[in-house]
């Protein structure tokens, strides 16, 4: 698991402890391999990769999903080596936002990106990422929103005096080592941030040649090619520790858009009893195996509302680690319900993984709603309203 990544060289550490007589060490165990970091081997045991932090509950290495509210709901963030599955809303308006937040967070934290899509060119997806906000401007956004609700702009919030004296966060450079940033959806990410980032794109119509040979293997050709691509990148760039990395370790963020839609060549959305019904589940199984043995995290958006066979949805949920469902109110009778009038949809946390744990980490709140403001995507508790997480 990626938890092992926090203690040194990940998969190699267990095999390379050799009991050797050592002259000037406290212990007789000596790690085989280059002793480049001799003096500070104590502190380099905790791999400090930018944009990650260990979980306060179980020490798992976490990355931010790009939305601090969602991080809090998931127990601090997304664990490295796991899959976050987003069940798309009916008209696919809000799930691309979560997808873009994840990728933008990767760029700002300096992680490597792998973007796979069958619908849009990955280069176009990267161009449309939201721009990161520095702290002062985020507070200004919140104040603007608060003021626009009330008609009297001179009512200031009475803050308890202890918090007035807390030091404000530094408005440092955008590519900071903080965990979890805020983004402005109405602005595009600056071009130079994209150019300095390392990203790999997988666009299905380019990878699949026009020869539509229906192969007899159990995975649809699109999925097979994607898995090979991912495995290739992980191996070549050394995210699984295979190439001894002299340079700093980094996280690979994988984003797969609209998995399971007919554009990937999968007919799981088209028929109820399809021949290739195991293709998607096999893909998820192999993908999770690839993720568990590398320093990577993956976000997948899937149009589960189109999948006809409910058993497949249950299998897909079990094969993913974290599952978040989005339900938008557009076109449904909830749109006119006065209870939901301030919000655009509900967000359901369907599953949270038990990683090296016996218990779940689910928050107690079950009724969460989201709202897409002009510049921000916020998640709130439904009944209390206005209590931003």
């Amino acid at each position: 698991m990626a938890a092992a990544g926090t203690c040194g060289t990940g998969t190699r550490s267990t095999g390379s402890m050799v009991a050797a007589a050592s002259t000037n060490n406290v212990t007789s165990f000596q790690r085989r391999g280059p002793r480049a970091s001799g003096a500070d081997s104590g502190c380099s045991r905790l791999v400090s990769i930018a944009g990650t932090r260990p979980s306060v509950r179980n020490g798992q290495l976490l990355v931010s999903t790009g939305l601090p509210a969602l991080d809090q709901l998931l127990g601090g963030g997304l664990a490295v080596g796991t899959v976050l599955l987003i069940e798309e809303d009916k008209y696919n308006i809000y799930s691309p936002l979560l997808f873009k937040y994840f990728l933008a967070e990767g760029i700002v934290s300096g992680h490597a990106l792998l973007v796979a899509s069958a619908k849009e060119d990955p280069a176009d997806i990267l161009q449309k990422l939201p721009a990161p906000l520095i702290d002062d401007s985020y507070k200004k956004e919140c104040d603007e929103d608060v003021c626009s609700h009330k008609m009297e702009p001179d009512i200031k919030m009475k803050i308890a005096w202890r918090y007035q004296l807390l030091p404000k966060m530094e408005a440092g450079p955008v590519s900071s080592s903080r965990f979890g940033h805020y983004y402005d959806i109405s602005k595009r990410i600056p071009q130079e941030l994209i150019e300095t980032s390392k990203w790999h794109g997988f666009f299905l119509p380019e990878k699949i040649s026009s020869a539509f040979n229906v192969e007899s293997c159990s995975l649809t050709p699109g999925y097979m090619k994607l898995l090979q691509f991912i495995q290739n990148i992980i191996y070549k760039e050394g995210f699984d520790g295979s190439n001894p990395q002299k340079k700093q370790k980094n996280i690979l963020r994988i984003g797969i858009q609209n998995l399971g839609s007919p554009l990937w060549g999968d007919d799981i959305c088209c028929t109820e009893n399809c021949d290739t019904s195991h293709s998607l589940t096999k893909f998820l199984y192999i993908l999770r195996g690839l993720l568990r043995t590398s320093l990577s995290a993956c976000i997948i958006t899937m149009p589960t509302h189109l999948i006809q066979n409910k058993a497949v949805i249950a299998r897909v949920t079990n094969l993913s680690d974290t599952v978040v469902g989005l339900e938008s109110f557009i076109g449904s009778e909830k749109e006119t319900n006065p209870l939901y009038k301030d919000y655009h949809g509900l967000i359901h946390i369907r599953q949270i993984p038990r990683l090296n744990n016996l218990i779940y980490d689910i928050s107690d709140v079950k009724d969460l709603a989201f709202k897409l403001k002009k510049k921000l995507f916020t998640i709130e508790h439904l009944q209390e309203g206005g209590l931003d997480l």
């Binding site: 008209y91 308890a160 007919d267 189109l306």
Partner: protein, 299 residues
């Protein structure tokens, strides 16, 4: 009152769903007539003569008909019909429209769904509506528009949902009392989709006439605006604040609010500050004896 948004959309695909009662081919032909660029029609369900019937010569001249109706399985001599079946025909359309803006009308998608696997059809349609040539060279007006006719009752929810998610505009035909209406769902790329209902009729020469919604006398007026009841009128307690009360509330210092007086009080428990006293009045049963009461026990 404006033109039908399906023709106003710059690019992408539009699908019309019809049913047995409200047929959609005439709407398709009306939309074909409205577009003033070259039109390629992939005809599968009706013959070429029947499709061209009703169009005047100007439209017929810019209409290129790819006939899959006459010989769908290519039994006759090659060269007469389109070889390779419907998939090849679609791909040939993709390559043919590389030059200039064009409209592709698919009559019908239902026929294609029955002859091709749904994912392959979706992928081919997606490739059709994307511009395959160098993406930097295309102007917004030069892209390809794809119109498809789909018979709703022939398919299950799976293929319908899959094709709906591909289409940028979806027009569902229905109507009441002899008047046809179109429910138009227009999905813009990153914004909320809009649902609109447009009443229309198609004239014999296939021009589209938009109409106002007819009066429905048979339906009872169900959406009377009920006057909203103010819940605070008949309460036994007072929810409103008078001006004096509001002033008093604003000038109240909350316990955790920082002010200079509070700071002084915290830093210097000063002279004016009364120290706290405990006032205790012993009860009749209280024992004021300070000794341990358990000493009495003979344990």
């Amino acid at each position: 009152p404006t033109s039908c948004p399906a023709t106003g959309s710059p690019c992408g695909s539009a699908s019309s769903k019809d049913s047995v009662e409200w047929e959609g081919r005439s709407l398709l032909k009306a939309l074909v007539k409205k577009s003033w660029e070259q039109v390629h029609v992939l005809g599968c369900e009706v013959s070429e003569e029947e499709f061209r019937e009703g169009f005047d010569s100007s439209i017929n001249s810019r209409l290129v008909y790819h006939d899959l109706f006459r010989d769908p399985l290519s039994w006759s001599k090659p060269g007469k019909a389109l070889p390779g079946g419907p998939l090849e025909a679609l791909r040939a359309l993709d390559k043919r429209t590389g030059s200039g803006p064009a409209t592709i009308a698919l009559d019908s998608l239902s026929w294609l769904l029955h002859h091709l696997p749904c994912p392959i059809l979706c992928q081919t349609l997606h490739a059709l509506s994307r511009q395959d040539s160098c993406p930097g060279d295309t102007l917004p007006g030069e892209q390809v528009r794809v119109l498809g006719l789909l018979h709703e009752e022939l398919h299950g929810p799976g293929p319908l949902g899959a094709l709906s998610s591909l289409a940028q505009t979806e027009v569902t035909l229905s109507g009441t009392m002899g008047q046809a209406s179109a429910h138009i769902l227009y999905r813009r790329p990153r914004q909320r989709p809009t649902l609109q209902t447009q009443w229309f009729s198609i004239l014999p020469d296939f021009s589209l006439e938009l109409q106002v919604e007819p009066l429905l006398e048979s339906q009872p007026p169900s959406d009377l605006h009920t006057p909203s009841v103010d819940p605070t009128t008949h309460l036994t307690f007072n929810l409103h604040l008078s001006k004096k009360e509001r002033e008093a509330k604003d000038s109240l210092t909350l316990p955790f609010q920082f002010s200079s007086e509070k700071q002084q009080a915290l830093l210097r428990p000063g002279l004016g500050q009364a120290t706290s006293h405990i006032f205790y009045e012993p009860d009749a049963y209280d024992d004021l004896d300070q000794e341990d009461p358990d000493d009495d026990l003979d344990v």
